[in-house]
C-alpha cells in the first residue's frame, strides 16, 4: 500500500510539472501552496512560520511551510545522535511533507529505501537545475549522501569554509625564550621543552604546561608529526583513505612511531598530565592563568583568546603552520567537514514532490542561498556591488549567528549550501591571518566522507568494529600513560586486531567504499 501511494504520488506530481524556474523568476506555483514540515534541531524546537526568512521565501516562491513538528521539545542529542523526535514522528504514522532535522542522514537512508521518503535522484535530474549543477560539480558529495541502494534521500546542509583546527602557540613565549616559530617536529619539541624549563611566564615557578588540549584526541592527533594518522574525517578515530584503500589510522607504522614519541613527551612533562580529564575548561583555564603554551584547536574560537592581552602583558596566541613531520611532510589533518548529516527530505505522503524539490532547489539558487545565509535584504544585510554585507547593527548586536538563527537564516535542518563569506565578515583578525597562513601552505588533506553499508556489510561492521575500537583506544591510552611499551607490544597488538576481525571490517569498508565512490 505504501509503495502504491508513493508511485501514485510520483505520477501525479510529474504530470503537473511547470517550468517555473526556467522563466527567470522564482515562483514555483501560481496559487500559494502549503506544505507541512517537521523540523528538529537543537536550536529550533519547531519550524516558525513568522521567521522573516520564511516570509521572504513565501513571497518569492509561493510555497508556504506549515509547522507540523512532533516531539518538538525533544532535542536531537548531538553527542549520541539519538533522534527521538524522528522516531516519534515515524511512530505516529504521519510523515509531514518535508522532514528537516539534524542527524537526518542515517534515518532517511534506513527508512528511505523502505518507502518512507522519496528518492530524490530523478526529481533532481528533472526539476532541480541548481541542485543538479551542484552535484555535478561535487560528485563525491552526491556519493557520500547516497544510501546503500544508490539513491539520495535528503538534501544536506553543506558547511562552507575549509579550515577547522590549527596549531596554536604562544608567540610571546617563543620570543621571550629567543626561539623561532617551530618549523619541524624537532623544533616543536624543543620549543615545548623550553616552555617547560625556561619559565616563560616569569613567575619563578615551573608551572607551565607546554601542550594542552580540550579534547584528548587532539593530543593523539600529534602522531601526524611522525607520519601517522589519527582520523580520516572530523569524527575522531575514523577510517581514512590512502590511495583508494580504506585503512584505519590506529594500525599504521607512523602511528606506532607517533605513539612511542607522544608517550615520551607525556612522560617528560611536555604535555598536560591531565590531558585526558581536563576537558573543555582547559583552554580558558590554562590560557587565562598564563600556563598553557601550545594546542591544536579551532581557528575562530581559539584566536578569540588574544583578548587576554589586556590582562597578560604581551599575550599573543596565534596559529602557526603545521610543523614538518620526521619525513618532512607538513599536513593539517583536521578540516571542516564539507557535508553534514543534517538537512531535509520529502515524506512519502507528500502529494507535491515536484513542487517540493523545486522548493529545495530554490535554496540553492543565488537568491535562495543568500536568503539562507544572510537573512533578509535591508534587515540583516545590504547589497553593495552585488555582494551582501551585514549591517553594522547586526555586526555589533551580539553573536552574529544567534541573530541569524533568530530570523530563520543559517537554519541547519534546512538543506542549503553555506557561504563562508557570512562567517568571514565577523571573524577575528587573528583567525583570518591564521587561515591565510594555512591557505598559503596548502596543508589540508582529503577527507573520508563515510560509506553507506548494505545489510550484510552492516552486520559485519556492527559485530566486530565496536570492540576493536574499544581495544584500540584502551591500548592507546595505556601506552601514553606508560602502561606497556608500544614497540614491545606492537606485534601482539596487531595480531589481536586480526583475531578480533579487523580484516573483515576493512573488507566491508572497502567494498562499500568502492560501490559508493567508484561508479
Amino acid at each position: 500500500m505504501r509503495h502504491l501511494t508513493l508511485t501514485a504520488a510520483l505520477l501525479t506530481g510529474t504530470a503537473i510539472a511547470t517550468p517555473a524556474l526556467a522563466d527567470g523568476h522564482l515562483k514555483i506555483v501560481d496559487e500559494p501552496l502549503e506544505l507541512t514540515i517537521q523540523m528538529n534541531h537543537a536550536r529550533y524546537p519547531r519550524y516558525q512560520e513568522d521567521w522573516p526568512v520564511e516570509q521572504a521565501a513565501r513571497a518569492l516562491t509561493n510555497i508556504h511551510l506549515v509547522d507540523a513538528t512532533v516531539g518538538s521539545n525533544t532535542r536531537t542529542d548531538e553527542n549520541t545522535g539519538k533522534t527521538e523526535a524522528l522516531n516519534l514522528m515515524l511512530a505516529t504514522g504521519e510523515i509531514p511533507d518535508i522532514v528537516g532535522s539534524s542527524r537526518l542522514k542515517d534515518f532517511v537512508n534506513q527508512y528511505g529505501p523502505e518507502g518512507a521518503f522519496f528518492p530524490l535522484n530523478d526529481l533532481i535530474e528533472e526539476h532541480a537545475p541548481n541542485l543538479k549543477a551542484y552535484f555535478e560539480s561535487r560528485p563525491e558529495i552526491r556519493s557520500a549522501i547516497s544510501a546503500a541502494d544508490g539513491n539520495m534521500y535528503y538534501i544536506p546542509y553543506l558547511p562552507d569554509g575549509k579550515y577547522g583546527r590549527a596549531y596554536f602557540i604562544r608567540y610571546d613565549w617563543l620570543e621571550t625564550l629567543g626561539l623561532e616559530v617551530p618549523e619541524t617536529v624537532e623544533e616543536f619539541e624543543n620549543a615545548l621543552r623550553a616552555f617547560r624549563d625556561g619559565d616563560p611566564n616569569g613567575n619563578g615557578l615551573k608551572d607551565e604546561i607546554p601542550y594542552f588540549a580540550r579534547q584528548w584526541p587532539e593530543f593523539i592527533r600529534l602522531v601526524t608529526l611522525w607520519d601517522g594518522r589519527s582520523s580520516g574525517s572530523d569524527t575522531y578515530h575514523d577510517f581514512y583513505v590512502d590511495d583508494g584503500q580504506i585503512k584505519h589510522p590506529y594500525a599504521g607504522e607512523g602511528y606506532r612511531e607517533g605513539i612511542k614519541n607522544l608517550a615520551r613527551w607525556y612522560e617528560e612533562g611536555l604535555v598536560d598530565t591531565e590531558v585526558f580529564t581536563r576537558g573543555s575548561s582547559a583552554r580558558e583555564y590554562l590560557l587565562s592563568e598564563n600556563l598553557g603554551g601550545a594546542t591544536h584547536d579551532w581557528f575562530a574560537s581559539t584566536s578569540g583568546y588574544n583578548r587576554l592581552s589586556t590582562e597578560i602583558d604581551g599575550f599573543v596566541f596565534k596559529a602557526f603552520a603545521p610543523p614538518a613531520s620526521v619525513s618532512g611532510k607538513r599536513i593539517e589533518e583536521h578540516r571542516r567537514i564539507p557535508i553534514k548529516p543534517d538537512g531535509w527530505a520529502i515524506g512519502y505522503t507528500n502529494e507535491h514532490p515536484v513542487e517540493t524539490i523545486k522548493y529545495f532547489d530554490f535554496w540553492f539558487s543565488p537568491e535562495g542561498r543568500r536568503l539562507a545565509n544572510f537573512g533578509v535584504e535591508g534587515q540583516q544585510y545590504t547589497l553593495e556591488d552585488g555582494e551582501p554585507i551585514f549591517t553594522d547593527e547586526l555586526l555589533n548586536g551580539g553573536p552574529v549567528n544567534n541573530q541569524l538563527y533568530a530570523v530563520g537564516a543559517q537554519l541547519q535542518a534546512r538543506g542549503y549550501f553555506q557561504d563562508y563569506e557570512y562567517e568571514r565578515q565577523w571573524s577575528n583578525k587573528f583567525a583570518l591571518e591564521g587561515i591565510a597562513l594555512y591557505d598559503e601552505g596548502d596543508y589540508l588533506i582529503d577527507q573520508f566522507l563515510g560509506v553507506a553499508f548494505n545489510a550484510d556489510e552492516q552486520k559485519v561492521y556492527d559485530r566486530y568494529w565496536p570492540s576493536i575500537r574499544d581495544f584500540m583506544l584502551e591500548r592507546q591510552q595505556g601506552w601514553i600513560l606508560g602502561n606497556g611499551d608500544v614497540e614491545a607490544d606492537w606485534d601482539g597488538y596487531m595480531a589481536q586486531l586480526d583475531s578480533m576481525g579487523y580484516g573483515d571490517v576493512l573488507e566491508v569498508m572497502q567494498s562499500a567504499y568502492e560501490r559508493q565512490y567508484n561508479n
Binding site: 598530565t273 591531565e274 585526558f276 556492527d462 568494529w465 583506544l473 584502551e474 591510552q477 595505556g478
Partner: protein, 179 residues
C-alpha cells in the same frame, strides 16, 4: 553532571583536594581517573555520597514510626543506646530495610550510566564498563535501536529474576515481601 565535575576536580592530580591531602603524607600525586584499580572505589564512593540523603529519608520515616514506649521500657530495663539500636530500632525497621534491599537488587543493572560515561576513560574500560555503557558504545554508530531495546528487555528480565529470588528468600526468612 555537576557531581561528575566535582569528582573530576577532587581527584585531579594537580589541584584536586584528594591529591593535596595525600601530598601531606609525602605521597606522589596519583592520576586516579586513569587507573583501572581506582575506578570502582571512586564510583561506589560517589554513588553512596550522592544518594545517601535520599535513601536516609525513607529510614528516617520508618524510625519515626517506631513506638517510643518501646524505648522507654528498655530504659527501665537499663539498656544502653547501643543495645536499643540493635534490639529495638533495627528490628522495627527491618521490613523497610528488606524492601529497599530487594528493590536495590532489582536495580543492580541500572547503575548510573551517565556517571560512568562522564567518569571513565579508555584506560579504565576494564573496570568501569557496565552493561549499559558497553551497549552505548556498541550502538554508537548509526543509532541501533533494536540492540538498545533488546538489551533493555534483557536487563529487565535479569533484574526481575534477581528480584524474584531475593523476594522468595526474604519471604522464607523474614516474612517480608514485595508481593
Amino acid at each position: 553532571m555537576i557531581v561528575a565535575g566535582i569528582v573530576i576536580t577532587a581527584f585531579s592530580p594537580s589541584a584536586g583536594i584528594i591529591n593535596t591531602i595525600i601530598g601531606w603524607f609525602g605521597i606522589e600525586p596519583i592520576y586516579f581517573l586513569t587507573k583501572p584499580e581506582w575506578f570502582r572505589p571512586i564510583f561506589i564512593g560517589t554513588g553512596i555520597w550522592q544518594e545517601a540523603g535520599f535513601q536516609s529519608i525513607v529510614y528516617l520515616a520508618a524510625i519515626a514510626g517506631v513506638s517510643p514506649t518501646l524505648y522507654e521500657s528498655a530504659v527501665v530495663d537499663g539498656a544502653s543506646r547501643w543495645q536499643m539500636m540493635w534490639r529495638i530500632t533495627l528490628p522495627s525497621i527491618m521490613s523497610t530495610i528488606i524492601i529497599m534491599l530487594i528493590i536495590r537488587i532489582g536495580n543492580l543493572l541500572e547503575v548510573s550510566f551517565e556517571m560512568v560515561i562522564l567518569l571513565y576513560q579508555p584506560a579504565t574500560y576494564e573496570t568501569a564498563d557496565v552493561v549499559n555503557t558497553y551497549i552505548f558504545r556498541q550502538g554508537l554508530q548509526g543509532g541501533q535501536y533494536d540492540i538498545a531495546a533488546a538489551a533493555g528487555l534483557f536487563n529487565a528480565v535479569v533484574a526481575f529474576v534477581l528480584v524474584i529470588t531475593a523476594n522468595s528468600l526474604s519471604k522464607r526468612y523474614s516474612r517480608t515481601s514485595l508481593w
